[in-house]
């Protein structure tokens, strides 16, 4: 009891957060039971009959697994390229000696984050079109055959990954840049005295200095691996690439929400959450073992 009193201020500080989470996260969480009920639009959650695992019937539909495969493929690719890129970019920006150029790059690189995907998709389509788009013009000049990017299933994933990278890489450097500036400059001074060059400084000071940040961002980005941004996929989806562009969110929207099958949508969400939980804990343990940095 004495210990609780000793930390009374701390508890007070944590109280608002706990309360808010209780009100806006835990109470609504009771709604997860929709996954096990036959909830139809118009009826109330509590009066809907229990149907056990009926809402999970989609697990038996072969197309569901195709959709899951599409989703995982895209999200893993996006992660493999999209996670290291901002780190590298942050390190690069940090090394720029010219202050003005450095600030310029910082301010410009995150512009695309603010563009709506609807417009970005339009621009992308204008660039990649067979009908005089810039990319195919260049390919033509270089002597190659024009490529039907937009209608091809092979190019869809690279397009999504590349455009996703372009859009978010600048924005994602912000946190790493903040972490870099928090590193004690005296460490650099000491290193220089000992004759360490730029490269060595990065390896031994900068990178370890932002490792905690890297670890935490890694762990925190796990939950979003399961979903792939609908906003990005939907405008780029068309009849030709549908078999690889149909992802979990579009599937749930179409077969679940638009029909009013909230039970199915909640069931999918529940499964994703459980998998995400497992992955987060796994990543947390691994990260702790590797560099001692975990979620807490």
């Amino acid at each position: 009891m004495g210990r609780l009193y000793k930390y009374r201020w701390q508890y007070l500080m944590i109280l608002p957060a706990v309360l808010l989470l209780f009100l806006f996260n835990y109470i609504p969480m009771a709604g997860i039971q929709i996954a096990f009920r036959d909830f139809q639009i118009g009826s109330s959650i509590w009066s809907s009959p229990w149907v056990g695992l009926d809402n999970f019937a989609f697990l038996q539909e072969p197309h569901f697994w195709v959709v899951v495969q599409n989703t995982l493929y895209i999200s893993v690719l996006k992660f493999v390229f999209g996670f290291p890129a901002p780190i590298l970019l942050a390190l690069m920006i940090n090394e720029v000696m010219h202050g003005g150029f450095k600030r310029f790059v910082q301010s410009v690189s995150y512009l695309p984050h603010f563009f709506s995907w609807i417009v970005v998709a339009y621009i992308l389509q204008s660039l990649l079109t067979l009908d005089g788009g810039l990319v195919n013009e260049l390919i033509g000049k270089a002597g190659g055959e024009p490529i039907f990017f937009l209608g091809s299933t092979e190019w869809f994933r690279p397009m999504i990954v590349a455009s996703g990278l372009w859009k978010e890489v600048g924005w994602n450097t912000i946190l790493y840049l903040a972490a870099i500036t928090a590193i004690d400059p005296q460490l650099y001074e000491a290193a220089k005295v000992e004759g360490a060059g730029k490269w060595a400084q990065i390896r031994h000071i900068t990178f370890p200095g932002i490792l905690p940040t890297i670890s935490i961002v890694l762990i925190l980005s796990i939950p979003s691996l399961i979903t792939v941004g609908m906003d990005q996929i939907y405008p780029m989806m068309n009849s030709a690439n549908m078999e690889v562009s149909d992802v979990l969110d579009t599937y749930v929207l179409r077969s679940g929400l638009q029909q009013g099958y909230f039970g199915m949508a909640t069931a999918v969400g529940l499964i994703s959450s459980v998998i995400a939980l497992f992955l987060v804990l796994l990543t947390n343990q691994t990260s702790r073992k590797i560099n001692g940095e975990g979620l807490w």
Partner: protein, 297 residues
């Protein structure tokens, strides 16, 4: 100040790569700016790349020239300012409280928070709860449910753990309570992190269109992004029952001048430019050396 040859080469390579990146970002931006300042029908003919061919402000007039959007700007600005200040405060104190490793039940509370990041009841239960609390159709629905951000808190926690314990201990020896320590010592040392997370929170508020679409029906409470989302979706007529009503809607729609891509470009500019101007102001917080001299003495 002298660089080795290797370092010079490295510098050149880096500058070259970054310039390429900036170019790849600036070009679409200028393209959108050009289209938005260009007459719609003319732009549709193609060939407008970097500057407007037939300059006009009509697209902006259409997007900005009505009370609905002006009002929604106020809402957006208000929610961004209030939401960011309140949100950062609540999240920061919670992170600070949780940074004390000796705190009883610490792991439990962190687990409690983690679960909320992974599990959710979905839109319907959330809406019901908001309705029961009287928040639907009220300005505070933009602020209160989002005041605490678990993601931000975990990042803050990480940063706080990077601050030398010696500082905190010496302050405690001097008789300072946790509140004092937080605001007099921790905050000044955490400027880069606070600036970054503050920016994230602000942008999150600025870009959120969902709350305005589903939690609010009062037209005077919708933020800019909700209004603009409609405009962006404008020419996508979703499936309507029966060919009669579908063609009816199409026919009536075509009786006036349809909004073109130029309007959508203007929409992007209008929604992005204000918040883009915030970052330069925050850059001064990304300053090296906040920890200098803090450990000495």
């Amino acid at each position: 100040m002298k660089l080795t040859l290797g370092e010079k080469a490295g510098q050149t390579a880096i500058v070259a790569l970054l310039s390429l990146l900036c170019l790849s970002v600036l070009y679409p931006f200028l393209y959108m700016l050009a289209i938005s300042l260009n007459e719609g029908a003319d732009a549709a003919r193609g060939g407008v790349y970097l500057w407007p061919r037939s300059f006009t402000l009509i697209n902006y007039e259409i997007v900005l020239g009505n009370e609905v959007i002006r009002n929604s700007y106020w809402i957006t600005i208000a929610r961004t300012v209030v939401g960011t200040v309140c949100g950062m405060l609540v999240t920061l104190v919670a992170a600070f409280g949780l940074s004390y490793r000796g705190l009883p039940f610490r792991k439990g509370i962190l687990g409690y928070i983690l679960i909320t990041m992974l599990f959710s009841g979905g839109l319907v239960p959330i809406y019901i709860q908001l309705h029961n609390l009287g928040l639907t159709n009220h300005f505070l629905v933009y602020i209160i449910p989002r005041m605490f951000s678990a993601w931000n808190m975990f990042v803050m926690l990480k940063f706080l753990q990077g601050i030398p314990e010696a500082l905190v201990e010496s302050a405690e020896l001097d008789g300072a309570g946790p509140v004092r320590i937080l605001f007099r010592i921790i905050v000044p040392l955490s400027k880069p992190m606070l600036a970054a997370l503050g920016l994230f929170t602000a942008v999150g508020h600025w870009n959120d269109w969902f709350a305005g679409a589903f939690y609010v029906t009062d037209q005077s409470l919708i933020p800019v992004q909700t209004y603009l989302q409609q405009l962006l979706n404008a020419s996508d007529l979703s499936a309507v029952m029966g060919s009669n009503t579908n063609q009816e809607a199409l026919a009536r729609g075509s009786q006036q001048n349809i909004t073109l891509m130029s309007i959508k470009m203007a929409v992007v500019m209008v929604s992005a430019l204000p918040i883009l101007c915030v970052y330069p102001f925050l850059q001064k917080y990304f300053v090296k050396g906040v920890l200098i001299g803090s450990v000495k003495g």
